[in-house]
């Protein structure tokens, strides 16, 4: 091709999208576009994820040896609190809803934006202020109470920067409430013509269920933290037994939110996995209605099981039994989902790209996490393993093995849509495998440690626990590499990877009908829906492989 030809050929007019239509500072500081807000969230929580990982690294290094060699007990306590608070309140809870939910929810239902764009922006800034306050607390030495803030230790005995931390979480809670309201209203009122409830993508269903928990649970946590702050600041006895209060009441109020919060973390992940499995099996999802309704069932049942965190707290035995049986029952809708995912794979036409690998990893790890949850719901066994590393392993299988795998899967799947670029497939597969093995090596030994009786939140342990702890630390270092790699290649892809077409996966779903990256108002032509979701039967099955641009 000659130089001449190149210059003569008229360059196509540059297509405007939500990123390049306006580069002014104000348009990035105060965007009303849900996609831009989603991207801002993505950048913020990625930072917070790595911030929350720092203490995890130190924790794992400290636990290489049975004695507290690296840090003192006091520092160790501050480390695990920082890890817990950052990861739970500032990464896992907002992770998928505020990023992929924000960016994709309006596109998936064929809307131009969320119902309340300003509220959406407010939710971001409220979240940011909350996160900054939590970091202010770090500057003042951090908090040493654990992320659960159990009274009377937190209010009366702890000598650490509680006030900014509590207010940070309190304020960030409003971000969740705003997001929840926005999602619920958007799903109810802004679906495009033909997008009936029975045609909603499963990711949207899961966001709907998540939003229910956001709006029903978060206010209770907020008020509980406010009571805690009042007790701490004024020395009055709301939960302090010495002043007539009841510390168990605090635990009830705290877990009333914080158990459903676990479902906030995992439900959007389940939604993501449903999308990935359908797309990469080239097949309609098995039992659409069961997968959809089980999300709502989990959200509702999830509010009735908080007491299983308190089997050894001194609550009455009969209350414990009710909570136990409900906890067993909440496992049923989760199991139904796993059942449906595997049946979707059956007789599919599997495309083993990175997103599917993450989805399959999710199925495996979530199954282990869910089943070990039964061990904890089983009261007699829970008495033994409660507050040990068994619990630590269990909830990391759910939150890291589940939610985090789904998050990374979503990241690879929708990256072309969000940025308009592909990611490097080889590196993607490599890091997915690394994350899976690193994760198992990190957390599986902790089940054993827990049953052997190693309690949580300790910097020192008996010498015979060391071997398993060393294994766990080794796994954590592999896991760390697995998390750093995507950070590198996603940045790289922005410049060096090929452009993605509108629909690189040949997926159904309205978001793929729009160019990548989408224009400011999401669609060039507002869509209508004429058929059921995941209609891969009509997408030609015999085309030669998935188009890669």
């Amino acid at each position: 091709m000659s130089e001449l030809q190149k210059t003569i050929e008229p360059s196509p007019p540059r297509r405007l999208n939500y990123i390049n239509h306006d580069w002014s500072v104000a348009s990035w500081l105060w965007p009303k576009d849900h996609k831009r807000i989603g991207v801002m969230y993505l950048v913020t929580i990625t930072f917070l994820f790595f911030l929350g990982s720092m203490p995890a690294i130190l924790i794992r290094l400290e636990l290489l040896t049975p004695k507290a060699h690296l840090v003192t007990h006091d520092i160790y306590n501050r480390l695990f609190t920082m890890h817990g608070v950052t990861m739970v309140f500032f990464f896992l809870i907002p992770s998928i809803p505020t990023t992929f939910g924000n960016i994709l929810l309006p596109m998936m239902i064929g809307a131009r934006d969320l119902a309340f764009p300003k509220l959406n922006l407010a939710s971001y800034y409220v979240f940011l202020i909350g996160a900054i306050l939590a970091m202010v607390s770090l500057v003042y030495g951090g908090v040493d109470t654990g992320w659960t803030f159990y009274t009377p230790y937190s209010t009366t005995f702890s000598n650490s920067a509680m006030t900014p931390m509590i207010f940070g979480i309190f304020i960030a809670g409003f971000s969740s409430i705003f997001t929840g309201i926005n999602f619920i209203v958007t799903i109810h009122t802004m679906r495009c013509p033909g997008m009936y409830w029975s045609r909603l993508p499963l990711f949207v269903w899961s966001l709907y269920a998540t939003s229910l928990i956001f709006i029903l649970g978060t206010p209770v946590l907020a008020i509980t933290l406010l009571l805690l702050a009042a007790e701490h600041a004024f020395g009055v006895g709301i939960f302090n037994p010495a002043l007539g209060g009841d510390p168990l009441l605090y635990q009830h109020l705290f877990w009333f939110y914080s158990h459903p919060a676990v479902y906030i973390m995992i439900l959007p992940g389940m939604g993501v996995v449903s999308e990935l499995i359908a797309t990469f099996s080239r097949k309609r999802i098995f039992g659409y209605h069961f997968v959809a309704y089980s999300s709502v069932a989990i959200a509702i049942l999830g509010f009735l099981v908080w007491g299983h965190h308190m089997f050894v707290s001194g609550q009455s035995m009969y209350a414990g039994m009710v909570f136990s049986v409900l906890s067993f029952l909440v496992a049923v809708p989760s199991a139904i989902k796993v059942f449906n995912w595997t049946l979707t794979l059956y007789k599919g036409s599997l495309v083993l790209k990175t997103p599917l690998l993450y989805a399959l990893g999710f199925i495996g790890l979530f199954t282990i996490g869910g089943l070990t949850g039964l061990f904890l719901a089983a009261m007699g066994v829970d008495v033994h393993v409660h507050d040990t590393y068994f619990v630590i392993a269990h909830f990391h299988y759910i939150m890291v093995g589940g939610a985090m795998m789904a998050y990374l899967g979503a990241m690879h799947y929708w990256w072309p849509k969000i940025t308009g670029r592909m990611y490097p497939e080889g590196w993607g597969v490599f890091s997915a495998v690394l994350v899976f093995f690193g994760f198992n090596l990190t957390f599986f030994p902790q089940f054993v440690l827990g049953y052997m009786g190693m309690v949580r939140r300790v910097a020192e342990y008996d010498a015979h626990f060391q071997v398993l702890n060393v294994l766990s630390t080794a796994g954590a270092s592999i896991l760390g590499v697995g998390y750093l790699l995507p950070l590198g290649y996603f940045f790289w892809s922005l410049r060096w990877e090929p452009k993605a077409g509108p629909n690189p996966w040949n997926a159904t779903g309205l978001e793929w009908q729009s160019p990548s990256p989408p224009p400011e108002l999401n669609f060039e032509v507002m869509p209508t829906v004429n058929g059921p979701p995941y209609d891969y039967d009509t997408v030609a099955l015999h085309e030669e492989g998935i188009k890669h641009v």
Partner: protein, 215 residues
Amino acid sequence: MSEAEMPVSMQFDDAAQEHEAATLGMWTFLATEILFFGGVLMAFTVYRRLYPEAFSQAGHRLYPWIGTANTGVLLFSSFTMALAVHEVEGLARRNRLVRYLILTALLGATFIGVKAIEYYIDYREGLMPHFNFHPVEPFEHPIQSQLFFVFYFFLTMLHATHMIIGIVIMLFYVGRTRRADYAHDLRLKIEMFGLYWHFVDIIWIFLFPILYLIA
């Protein structure tokens, strides 16, 4: 100007959809508010059951007539708010709308003022935990009775905070309404704000008997 012609925000198809979204959004928000107050009312109820006697004795130290007067003020403000919402239609009635909004804000401020005086009385009588808890006439169960006052102040301050936020928003709307840009979206907002204001009143209708009367 009919409903269909009114300008709508770009994310909506038409005014009807916008109205539906705004209404659902407001009600959802109010649901979260109920749970917000519900958490602390739950805690209050637990302690009331644990220490019925101490709470009853503590409750008798409040002045129901002040509370009753304030209830009246608040109910009247709900009435004027309803009148304001009634006036949002059409530019012609803009002045009346402004008047009703200002009246509502004044009534709200009156409530806050009375509440402040009541707090001062409580303080002087040594009934304010942490700051001055030396009751003129000592309690039989000082610790448990103090707990009552912790909840009394917490609940009423939480409610007052909602009132103050409401008054500020109201004054902001007064300014917007007087300026030329009084438009469709502002009318919708005032209508939704009316729901919020009624809700705050209803919260007080619950708090008043629980704190002042059941003693």
